[in-house]
């Protein structure tokens, strides 16, 4: 099911939380939603799940409008809200049954789905406990289980891995990736590494507008421009190495890297590649290379660049 967000605007009082936001997510795509606090991520997710109506614009989920046909849209969405609210006094199993029934899972399938969810989300030992008694990580799993219980075609996860330990984070990421192959997933996060690891596409929004959109590689390339290599060379003389590197025809800039001896950051000219030239140079001079690595722009840098202004 495709999600089409078409020029939505949502204001709270005088403040515009979302400002003519438009994007489209295709089936089988995992979209990572990034942005600083208060950028409008949660508001957009609430609008897609029919909890809030946008002031202007429309959202289509599988061709159905969230404002005109919310009951039908909601049947196809699994939603894990921020902070993961749950009925504290309910046992896990009862809560899952309640969710399944409300989502319209056929009666004969409810049991099967609950067993499946308990298995997928690793809740076997906790299934008869009251939700209040669970640790944060297990509550998060219950939240995920209720979102997945009716096998939804669209999954909206608002910061799904908060409060989980590193092992659980890896498990949940794997799960999201697996689910994302057949379904449409939108997830928001503050953790850039997580978005990079799980998402096919990243959308960065700031002040209610899209500031960057693309695959992680595309975004990096967009921000980076020229190739940068980190070179470390042994048994040579510092100034000689510097001027030799600088005189290579493909190299635009050479910088010393502080702290590590004989280590340089070499920036190539536009659309040029200097690795081979550096290698040949060292062979000729009889130096040996102990390090030659491309420096990738981190997603953090991209994020900072597009959201700071």
């Amino acid at each position: 099911m495709d999600i089409v967000v078409d020029k939505i605007t949502k204001t709270y009082g005088l403040q515009k939380a979302v400002d003519e936001l438009s994007f489209r997510v295709k089936t089988g795509e995992v979209l990572g939603f990034l942005g600083p606090n208060g950028a409008g991520k949660t508001t957009t997710m609430k609008a897609i799940t029919c909890f809030l109506n946008p002031n202007e614009g429309n959202i289509l989920v599988g061709g159905m409008s969230v404002t005109e046909n919310p009951e039908e849209v909601k049947k196809h969405i699994g939603y894990l809200p921020e902070n993961n609210p749950l009925y504290q006094d309910m046992p896990v199993i009862d809560y899952l049954r309640f969710s399944a029934e409300l989502q319209g899972v056929p009666k004969e399938k409810v049991r099967e789905r609950i067993i499946e969810m308990v298995k997928v989300c690793g809740l076997k030992a906790e299934k008869h406990k009251k939700i209040r008694e669970l640790s944060k990580g297990f509550r998060q799993r219950v939240g995920l289980a209720q979102a997945l219980i009716h096998d939804p075609e669209v999954l909206i996860l608002d910061e799904p891995t908060t409060g989980l330990d590193p092992n659980q984070i890896v498990e949940i990421r794997e799960l999201i990736k697996k689910i994302g192959k057949e379904k449409t997933v939108i997830l928001s996060s503050h953790i850039l590494a997580e978005v990079e690891a799980t998402c096919d596409r990243i959308l960065i929004i700031s002040k209610g507008k899209i500031v960057a959109d693309g695959t992680p590689e595309e975004l990096r390339k967009q921000a980076q421009g020229n190739e940068i290599l980190k070179v470390q060379i042994r048994n040579g003389e510092r100034n000689e190495m510097y001027s030799a590197l600088k005189s290579l025809p493909t190299v635009a800039l050479v910088d010393f890297i502080d702290g590590t001896p004989n280590c340089y950051e070499v920036q190539s000219k536009k659309d040029e590649n200097s690795a081979k030239a550096i290698f040949d140079l060292c062979v000729k001079k009889g130096w040996y290379i102990s390090q030659l690595t491309p420096v990738e722009t981190k997603l953090e840098d991209v994020f900072r660049e597009v959201t700071m202004n």
């Binding site: 109506n53 009951e71 969405i77 939603y79 749950l86 504290q88 309640f98 989502q103």
Partner: protein, 240 residues
């Protein structure tokens, strides 16, 4: 209908899983039993087999109990955020409100059903006006429904349960006695308006055995106003 049933079931489960249901029922039976059978001794001294003294007491006990039952219904869900979960499932605002309303009403009906032994006991003492007993129960159910709907409304406008409780009592007390007192002390058209607004007028005529469509309409209008108000408050999140 199915969605309403699922929500009602969950609410009842929540009420019976906590001690709330049992405390409510026990305290209600204790209070109404004590005042009906022991204190004052109306039942034995009135000279006829009648449930009037029980209905008089239940009228007051429910007045205090119902806000305590309804205060958490929406306020708590708002506070913990579970309302968001509920509203993003395929249910409408109306279904949620009706589900919660029916769950509370069912608890009241269970409590009332447990007072049926009173009825049977009095029936054994002497000839009883069966019609008046049944309309008395009907009156209590209608009155409870009215207070439940007021309680759900006050619970929907705040996320603080105590505020919801006190507000429900405040609104309730007007219907319960203040309009009656005003009606007695003011003459003319305003007086008759207050008399019509007073819940006790309608309750008394029903519990005496007179079921008038006017009284039924009165109770139904309070119920619907309360529920429409709650729905409007829930829908307000979308008013821009």
């Amino acid at each position: 209908m199915k969605q309403i049933g699922i929500i009602t079931k969950r609410e009842l489960q929540a009420i019976f899983d906590s001690l709330m249901a049992y405390i409510t029922i026990i305290v209600f039976l204790g209070l109404s039993g004590f005042f009906t059978w022991l204190y004052g001794g109306d039942v034995f001294f009135v000279g006829q087999a009648s449930m009037q003294s029980f209905f008089g007491i239940a009228y007051w006990t429910f007045f205090f109990f119902i806000p305590a039952l309804t205060m958490k219904l929406i306020a708590e869900e708002k506070k913990t955020g579970t309302l968001e979960i509920l509203l993003t499932k395929p249910v409408t605002d109306w279904q949620i409100i009706w589900g919660k309303f029916l769950a509370t009403l069912l608890l009241i009906i269970i409590a009332l059903a447990l007072t049926l032994p009173y009825y049977i006991t009095i029936w054994n003492i002497g000839p009883i006006d069966h019609g008046a007993v049944w309309t008395g129960y009907l009156g209590l159910i209608l009155m409870s429904s009215a207070y439940i709907s007021i309680g759900i409304f006050t619970s929907s406008i705040t996320n603080n349960q105590i505020v919801a409780f006190l507000l429900a009592l405040c609104i309730g007390i007007f219907f319960h006695i203040i309009f009656g007192i005003l009606a007695a002390s003011i003459s003319g058209v305003p007086g008759s308006i207050f008399n019509y607004l007073s819940l006790s007028t309608h309750y008394e005529s029903i519990s005496r055995g007179v079921v008038d469509s006017k009284d039924i309409i009165y109770f139904l209008s309070i119920i619907f106003l309360g529920l429409i108000g709650s729905e409007a408050v829930l829908a307000k999140r979308n008013i821009n």
